[in-house]
């Protein structure tokens, strides 16, 4: 008796794949995401909370559908749209994270502090507190809130992807060598950061963060804001000490601008102008209709 005869002769291959995608239904928003993010940029927006890709350690609530629609439209206009305008759609497609994940609630750590956003290796970026969109949008200073809670994270992570692909000037980390303090960054004030030549507290985490915080903060604020930070960095302290943080900020910004121009072919000021203009346009945009 041959071994082959042991196998069951009446078994036939099932023509249905067992690797069927888990989710099949496409609602209007799903279709809109496909048309506006997946097809042009190869990016998926995951607004349906799935604890498999979110962090199982946190207790989270999903994003609300209508507020997710608003945030997706804002991202398209202010983030992707600005990059397209300044550097072209190929640039955007190449450098944005592959998945943008929306979570409705904040992610609270055990001590009650919140995580604003996370990014994993430039592939997935998670934005929390999406269910506060309506609240933020109803405020006069909506752009400041959106910048703080969403956009700084986006540009920050984008900055990391840039320098991971093409290294920046090796002179950059030398300027503030010895002043990077890792996890203790939040123990020191923003004023102190400015005085030492850092644009934000988090810039002091490590040199890469210093670099990308300059990009993120520069494009999300106007010239007046930048000038004020520089002025504070150069001002005399309350105890009479003198600082040159403002000059250091300008020196580092010049390196960042040169890097954007020479390595990637775009002008950081043009990007900032586009982001600023598009942010203002949000106030008159229809953020509800899916088209």
């Amino acid at each position: 008796m041959s071994l082959a005869s042991v196998s069951c002769s009446d078994d036939s291959l099932d023509n249905r794949s067992i690797f069927d995608t888990a989710r099949t239904e496409q609602n209007d928003f799903d279709k809109w995401i496909k048309k506006n993010f997946t097809d042009p940029y190869n990016v998926d927006i995951v607004y349906k909370l799935d604890d498999n890709i979110s962090d199982y350690d946190y207790d989270l609530a999903p994003a609300e559908y209508n507020q997710s629609v608003k945030l997706a439209k804002i991202i398209k206009h202010v983030w992707f749209g600005a990059y397209d305008e300044v550097a072209g759609v190929d640039f955007t497609r190449q450098l944005v994270p592959r998945t943008i994940h929306f979570v409705g609630s904040p992610a609270y750590k055990g001590d009650g502090t919140m995580v604003l956003g996370t990014a994993e290796g430039g592939l997935v970026i998670t934005l929390y507190m999406v269910n506060n969109m309506n609240k933020y949008l109803s405020q006069d200073n909506y752009m400041e809130l959106l910048n703080h809670y969403y956009f700084k994270t986006m540009h920050h992570e984008f900055g990391h992807i840039l320098h991971q692909k093409k290294p920046y000037d090796t002179n950059f980390p030398k300027i503030c060598a010895g002043l990077y303090i890792g996890g203790d960054w939040y123990l020191h004030s923003e004023t102190e950061a400015h005085q030492l030549g850092f644009i934000s507290q988090y810039s002091r985490n490590m040199e890469y963060d210093d670099f990308v915080e300059l990009i993120a903060n520069y494009v999300t604020h106007d010239q007046e804001w930048w000038d004020a930070a520089v002025a504070e960095g150069n001002a005399k302290g309350s105890d009479g000490t003198t600082h040159n943080g403002g000059d250091i900020l300008e020196e580092k910004l010049a390196i960042v601008k040169a890097y954007c121009r020479n390595s990637w072919g775009f002008d950081l000021d043009e990007l900032r102008d586009a982001v600023q203009r598009r942010s203002k346009e949000l106030s008159t945009m229809d953020l509800t209709t899916l088209n």
């Binding site: 008796m1 042991v6 349906k48 604890d51 609300e64």
Partner: protein, 421 residues
């Protein structure tokens, strides 16, 4: 060799297969079947939500209507936070049946009536500790059994009758919840045997006696309350109680166990407030020093059922609770001192004060003898944290706000009311 081959051949016989289809196809079929069942309930479902790994907090009825396109409409008879959503409001969100280890019913976009039970907050990072993703463990046209994916708690969902009017039904449940909670102070009986005394709230009861503590959270039904699972009381298994308005009690279904309103030992009736011999004492602040103050106090009844107490520097409105016989004092407007100077009684903790009219202090019995009943006051949990005093605070407008704050007039600490019998 012959034996082995024989075995191998036997295993090929299709009659002996445990399953007649691949696991992937069975999963696919289960998903389709469950979806059909979910959608087929014309008037939707009632999910009996008991959040918490030990279902210790409360029970809430969540009404859910699933449509075939992935939309779910929800409301609930209980919503514990002030987030703009009220019981009975309808809210639409999305659901999906997803293939995981088992078919998973997931509420994938935010719905306040569903996710409130798993949503974190800064002061409570794991919230009510429920789930919004449930493994379907049993399903029929009338009942689903769901097991929370993260917390593992099993919940049940029942198809609603075709003629259930959601709005009306939710209102009924909400009213019943208030009625049960209004009993406030209760005793637990098995037949005529009293097992202990305790309290009932909108969400749970707790009774202590010689033989221990009896407690449970509950869900509200049309007729009374229902526990997550039966509990043993005096050898009797009870899981549902029927509310009896006339007798002011909740009678266990199928046994002679009951939770009955019991006047607390320190109960003070309204008449005693109005006609008793009361003394008000407190510590206040004047000329940069703290001083003790003690005077006879008198209560008068207002049309709205509140009491006005005189005896302090200004008349103060108190709330009387005829369930407990206790009074409480809330943040309130006192008087106009002069044009543009409005005096308010504001709950305070020494650092910050509030003009939230819900904040204040609840009276409690600090000592009770044949001759004297002493009432002191504790923070009512609304307003500022760890409130310890009332500030008599001046605002420049009759509408207190951060912009109209003017200054402190004095403060009241250690407010004590003594009834001399």
């Amino acid at each position: 060799m012959v034996a082995v081959l024989a075995l191998a051949q036997t295993s090929c016989s299709s009659d002996d297969r445990v399953f007649d289809d691949s696991s992937a196809n069975r999963m696919e079929n289960a998903i389709n079947e469950y979806k059909e069942l979910l959608v087929s309930a014309e008037n939707g479902w009632c999910l009996e939500m008991f959040p918490g790994e030990k279902h210790e907090y409360l029970g809430a009825s969540i009404y859910l209507k699933f449509d075939k396109d992935g939309k779910v409409t929800a409301t609930s008879d209980y919503h514990p936070v002030k987030d703009g959503y009220n019981v009975g409001d309808l809210f639409e969100s999305r659901y999906e049946l997803i293939k995981q280890q088992g078919p998973l019913l997931s509420f994938i976009t935010y719905n306040p009536f569903v996710h409130i039970w798993s949503e974190p907050s800064g002061s409570d990072v794991d919230g009510y500790e429920s789930d919004y993703e449930f493994v379907v463990t049993k399903a029929s046209a009338t009942e689903f059994e769901l097991k929370g994916r993260k917390r593992g708690v099993t919940l049940h969902m029942y198809a609603l009758d075709k003629d259930t009017d959601w709005k009306k039904s939710i209102t009924e449940l909400s009213d019943m919840r208030k009625k049960c909670a209004a009993l406030k102070t209760i005793a637990l009986f098995s037949g005529s045997n009293k097992l202990g005394s305790g309290k009932i709230t909108e969400t749970d009861f707790k009774v202590s006696g010689e033989n221990g503590v009896y407690k449970s959270s509950f869900l509200i039904t049309k007729t009374g309350i229902k526990l997550y699972a039966p509990i043993n009381i005096d050898g009797k298994s009870v899981s549902e109680f029927t509310y009896n308005a006339e007798a002011k009690e909740l009678n266990a279904v199928g046994s002679d166990v009951k939770l009955a309103f019991e006047k607390p030992a320190d109960y003070i009736d309204l008449d005693t407030y109005l006609n008793g011999d009361w003394t008000l004492s407190l510590t206040y602040y004047v000329s940069k020093t703290e001083k003790k103050y003690s005077r006879k106090a008198k209560f008068t009844l207002n049309e709205d059922g509140t009491l006005t107490m005189t005896g302090a520097h200004f008349p103060i409105v108190c709330n009387y609770d005829d369930g407990t016989g206790m009074i409480s004092i809330k943040t309130q407007y006192l008087t106009m001192l002069e044009e543009g100077a409005y005096l308010f009684l504001c709950q305070c903790n020494g650092q910050s004060l509030t003009w939230d009219y819900n904040s204040g202090f609840d009276g409690y019995t600090s000592s009770l003898t044949d001759k004297q009943h002493v009432i002191k006051f504790k923070d009512n949990g609304m307003g500022v944290n760890n409130a310890n005093s009332f500030y008599l605070y001046v605002f420049t407008s009759s509408k207190p706000s951060g912009d109209t704050m003017d200054g402190t007039y004095t403060y009241y600490k250690d407010i004590t009311l003594t009834l001399t019998k």
